[in-house]
């Protein structure tokens, strides 16, 4: 068949145009921004070129706090949600009645507006003058004393934060893991059973190796997603995350761009590039690790 150069480019034109303006150009631009020191958004002028923006961002206590929060969220939610999702998926794949019902329920958080449900979480956990809230009621039942999870101590806020994050990311992980488990050839299990393997051994020697690519996929995307945490935080603690001490790196980027600190695209660019560098490094390490460890690719 003859080549249709012109026609092909015509079909591609809209995509290229949009990607060029909103993807490629910004990518170059963000690097430029990040090295323009003392950039003034109003006059569009800057005083020099250098790494000053990075220095400023890295020494900004708000950024350091955001960095710390982000790392804590990542370190807690990624392993917990993945492990927990694996347990639930194993449970799901070992039952027949009600399986569909459970799967449907578990998937619900995926299709809900995280801002909206975040409000519900806030109400469940919040302690106000009128009520200690649902969760504190439970704590009291078991003999503990009430804590304000939304405006109280740091660890309490972090707990809600991680709990909510896990609640939000679970549907995707459960779904992916259940379909991975379902796609393992049943003959392996039959063979193992005939050979008299215990269920623990079957899990370690057959199931886990077979689904290890999926698990690593989830870990990698989990890391990437958790590093970009932001809107869940807003849902729980409001837009002024710095005041709540619960800001994240992405939150810091937006705050620098707009919001209360208002209009420093250079700092935002520097922070975004730092985030990208972190995510890139972690993903790279993950991939190298998984290449060595994943047994069945």
């Amino acid at each position: 068949m003859k080549k249709n150069n012109l026609k092909a480019w015509l079909y591609l034109l809209p995509a290229i145009l949009f990607l060029g303006v909103f993807m490629v150009y910004p990518l170059i631009d963000v690097c430029v921004y990040s090295v323009e020191e003392n950039y003034n958004f109003a006059s569009q002028s800057f005083t020099g070129v250098g790494l000053g923006n990075f220095r400023y961002v890295l020494s900004d206590p708000y950024f350091v706090q955001a960095l710390k929060n982000t790392f804590i969220i990542v370190a807690i939610t990624v392993p917990l949600s993945t492990g927990f999702a694996l347990l639930i998926s194993l449970g799901l794949s070992s039952i027949k009645p009600l399986r569909n019902a459970f799967q449907t329920i578990y998937f619900l958080p995926y299709v809900t507006n995280t801002l909206a449900v975040g409000l519900v979480f806030m109400i469940l956990f919040k302690k106000t003058a009128y009520t200690d809230g649902m969760v504190n009621l439970l704590i009291n039942k078991f003999g503990g004393s009430s804590v304000d999870f939304i405006e109280g101590p740091y660890w309490a806020k972090m707990f809600v934060m991680c709990f909510y994050t896990i609640w939000v990311v679970m549907p995707f992980k459960i779904l992916i893991l259940t379909s991975a488990l379902a796609s393992v050839n049943q003959d392996y299990y039959k063979a193992a059973k005939v050979d008299g393997a215990t269920s623990g051994r079957i899990f370690r020697k057959i199931t886990l190796p077979m689904i290890s690519p999926t698990v690593f996929y989830l870990v990698i995307t989990g890391f990437i997603g958790a590093f970009k945490a932001y809107s869940d935080e807003v849902a729980l603690f409001g837009t002024n995350l710095n005041a709540a001490g619960m800001n994240t790196i992405v939150g810091y980027v937006y705050d620098m761009l707009y919001g209360d600190s208002g209009g420093y695209p250079s700092y935002a660019a520097a922070a975004a590039l730092i985030l990208f560098a972190i995510v890139f490094t972690i993903t790279y390490i993950n991939l190298t690790f998984s290449k060595n460890k994943v047994q069945y690719m």
Partner: protein, 280 residues
């Protein structure tokens, strides 16, 4: 015998475990519906919250629509979602078709470039996009909300893979019968790939309905708020802060469309997501 007993015991444990998680997932939904039908007075009088109400009221729903422009937020989100999804299909379908079906110089190179863009996080480009939209004077406009999200390299990739799975013979048969490329795309390829197309539309609709960050940057006029921004606005300024039942009514109203959509297209959505959607 003993083995049988332990098997049924572990079965019970599995169910208990699964039910606990189901409760954790469902409880917030229950709580939001419950709170939304409690009257303001009775809610505030419950120091210890009650798990049911004997006098349900719909007053909060009326408040949610009258005290804040919830209807407006809804309409905005609807316009935003439909326009973004529609425009995106117009952009990605021809692009996927070109990659899958047309032969042209530089196809592999361009496709590789497209793929490499998949690695770029939104957070990195949002800064310039914000500046671009501000410079184009598109803040507080639908256009400003929509434009940056009408392409998705991932969906182009997904659709292209699907298009390529259609046997060449169908194309040849159509060629011999004098079918133009465009007609082949519309009459044959899209109908055959309908499941994927529907999946992409649904995923994009979910993404649009829940999008928060970009609209927040681009709109400060409440006339252009989407539901997510509306929720945030309600939380911080609406209902005099403490009218939790009205707030919950708004949350219910916002959550219902997607949940209904999900319950209708349950299988399609779950299959689509498991085939390669990550949230957002």
């Amino acid at each position: 015998m003993i083995e049988k007993k332990s098997a049924s015991l572990s079965r019970v444990l599995i169910y208990v475990f699964l039910v606990i998680w189901a409760v954790i997932v469902l409880f917030p939904f229950y709580w939001m519906v419950l709170t939304s039908v409690k009257s303001f007075a009775s809610y505030n009088s419950e120091y210890i919250p009650r798990f049911f109400t004997t006098e349900p009221t719909l007053q909060n729903y009326a408040d949610a629509f009258t005290t804040v422009p919830l209807g407006r937020y809804f309409l905005n989100t609807l316009i935003f979602t439909v326009a973004t999804t529609g425009l995106m299909m117009l952009v990605i379908v021809p692009a996927s078709f070109a990659f899958a079906r047309l032969e042209f110089r530089g196809r592999n190179l361009v496709f590789a470039l497209f793929l490499s863009l998949m690695m770029i996080p939104t957070e990195l480009v949002i800064i310039t996009n914000y500046v671009t939209i501000v410079n184009w004077n598109l803040r507080n406009t639908y256009l400003g909300l929509i434009l940056p999200s009408v392409t998705s390299v991932f969906y182009i990739y997904l659709l292209k893979e699907n298009f390529e799975a259609i046997p060449d013979e169908l194309y040849q048969a159509a060629k011999v019968d004098g079918t133009s490329d465009l007609k082949y795309l519309v009459k044959v390829m899209i109908p055959i790939c309908q499941p994927t197309v529907v999946t992409i539309i649904i995923l994009k609709v979910i993404e649009c309905w829940n999008s928060y960050v970009w609209p927040r940057l681009i709109t400060y006029d409440a006339n252009y708020y989407l539901v997510s921004n509306g929720i945030q606005e309600i939380r911080e300024n609406g209902f005099g802060r403490e009218n939790t039942p009205a707030m919950m009514a708004a949350v219910v109203v916002i959550s219902v469309p997607l949940i209904v959509l999900f319950l209708i297209f349950r299988k399609k959505i779950m299959a689509g997501v498991s085939r390669g959607g990550t949230k957002g």
